[in-house]
């Protein structure tokens, strides 16, 4: 699984744009579980993508294989070893 990080988060991943998580071929998990796992190596990423309850933060958009999880199964969207995950800060006004 590969995570594509926005510039604002890369300092929490040793300045990498893409970080990889090696998973067994038959493993499936939720997108939240994937970020929890990523957080073991990059706790600063987990902190900024998930809130204290372990939910995706409101103003963070996460795409799995091109689809925004908000329009899929949200926090329970399934991912596999081959998933491409992209993180975007939501556009905001003011």
């Amino acid at each position: 699984m590969r995570f594509h990080l926005p510039s604002a988060l890369r300092k929490w991943a040793r300045d990498q744009e893409i970080v990889e998580l090696s998973l067994p071929l038959d493993l499936r998990m939720t997108i939240v579980e994937a970020f929890e796992m990523l957080g073991r190596e990059y706790p600063g990423i987990r902190q900024r993508v998930l809130d204290d309850r372990g939910n995706l933060r409101r103003h963070v958009n996460v795409f799995v294989d091109g689809e925004n999880v908000r329009f899929a199964q949200g926090d329970t969207t399934q991912v596999t070893h081959a998933s491409e995950v992209r993180v975007y800060p939501a556009m905001s006004g003011g």
Partner: protein
């Protein structure tokens, strides 16, 4: 670590730490307070709800409660007057999983040297109190308040369910008073082991929530200790202005003489007993200076009478508001007063409120101001 421009103050200089909706700024002046220099912005684009200064002469530290709309809230710190800032990788203010709560914003940062030399207390939204024993680097929640049996009756206001005021008693390390919107005033007399609501005497016309009609949630906006007597506390409530002479056990109405009971901040004079300041706004539903004329009101007799001060403040077409943490005093003589507006103006008085001027006109909306003389 974010590197930026620091301020390099001299001993005896005054600094103002100003948090806004789009970052923080630091102003510096000598003791005359005639000229201020600005540094920043720090935390560009982020909301800075709270600041604190730890005045250890050998290692002073600035703290800021920073909220990214995207990435959450942390307490960040600088040990070099803003030249660099430490942002913790993992959140340093976090709710335990069992609470099923998630941190929104850090509303208050309060050094508590009476409790311990490295102790900082933090008030947050959703309402909870945190304690740091390491000068603001890590925090732990106060479990008794987190699990308070009245928590289900607390109701968020427009600003959230925020614990915005933390008053450690300057003489008693076991006593702490907090203000929560909308719940009211809670006090612990046993070092945070238990908390009791202390709203007696504060008017509340509406009933409580359906699950507890007897519970009358108060929206305490800001409290301050009297300069000489920590049993005397001044309160700007959502509707009403009050004083307690018994450490919060009871409250008496001191609003008569003021043109409005509504406002957010209240400030006590740093040395003179019985002296406090408020900035009345028109009403709950129109939070601007009365008739467009900005005035600070002062009492010198603990609220028995009030006098308006407005020389130098805009006296027509002024339609800003001043939030609860955006009005402070310094510790100099004569005392300086400072308030920031949601319009981005920062007003300064170097003579106890008699005369005012702006030192910034175009900042983002100001959330908080702290004044500190550098040791």
């Amino acid at each position: 670590m974010e590197r930026t421009n620091g301020i390099d103050p001299q001993s005896g200089d005054l600094i103002l730490m100003v948090g806004t909706v789009k970052g923080a700024f630091i102003f510096r002046s000598d003791r005359t307070r005639r000229e201020f220099r600005i540094a920043g912005p720090y935390f560009k684009g982020m909301e800075v709800f709270s600041t604190a200064y730890l005045p250890d002469r050998s290692a002073p530290r600035m703290l800021m409660g920073v909220k990214s709309q995207h990435w959450g809230s942390t307490v960040n710190w600088s040990d070099d007057f803003g030249a660099s800032w430490h942002e913790p990788a993992e959140g340093n203010v976090k709710f335990p999983a069992a609470s099923n709560l998630a941190l929104n914003a850090i509303w208050a940062l309060e050094p508590a040297p009476v409790i311990g030399p490295n102790v900082v207390l933090a008030g947050v939204d959703p309402a909870a109190l945190y304690r740091s024993n390491d000068r603001g680097e890590t925090f732990r929640p106060n479990e008794a308040l987190l699990n308070h049996p009245e928590r289900p009756f607390w109701m968020p206001g427009f600003g959230g369910l925020c614990l915005h005021t933390v008053l450690p008693d300057p003489r008693d390390p076991k006593r702490i008073i907090v203000g929560i919107s909308s719940a009211g005033i809670y006090r612990s007399d046993d070092g945070g082991e238990s908390w009791t609501r202390r709203n007696q005497g504060i008017r509340m016309d509406d009933a409580g929530p359906p699950n507890a009609p007897h519970f009358r949630p108060q929206c305490a906006h800001k409290m301050r200790y009297d300069a000489k007597n920590p049993r005397r506390i001044y309160l700007q409530n959502h509707p009403g202005i009050y004083r307690s002479d018994d450490g919060g056990d009871s409250w008496i109405d001191i609003a008569p003489g003021l043109p409005s009971v509504f406002g957010f901040p209240i400030v006590a004079h740093p040395r003179s007993a019985d002296t406090a300041y408020v900035i009345p706004l028109t009403a709950d539903n129109f939070r601007v200076p009365i008739e467009g004329a900005a005035k600070v009101w002062r009492t010198r007799d603990a609220g028995a009478s009030w006098m308006p001060l407005g020389n130098g403040l805009p006296q027509q077409d002024a339609y800003f508001s001043v939030l609860r943490d955006a009005f402070v005093s310094d510790s100099l003589d004569p005392a300086g007063l400072y308030f920031g507006t949601r319009g981005g103006q920062l007003f300064v008085s170097a003579d106890e409120g008699e005369n005012w001027r702006t030192i910034a006109d175009w900042l983002p909306a100001i959330l908080c101001v702290k004044a500190q003389v550098v040791g």
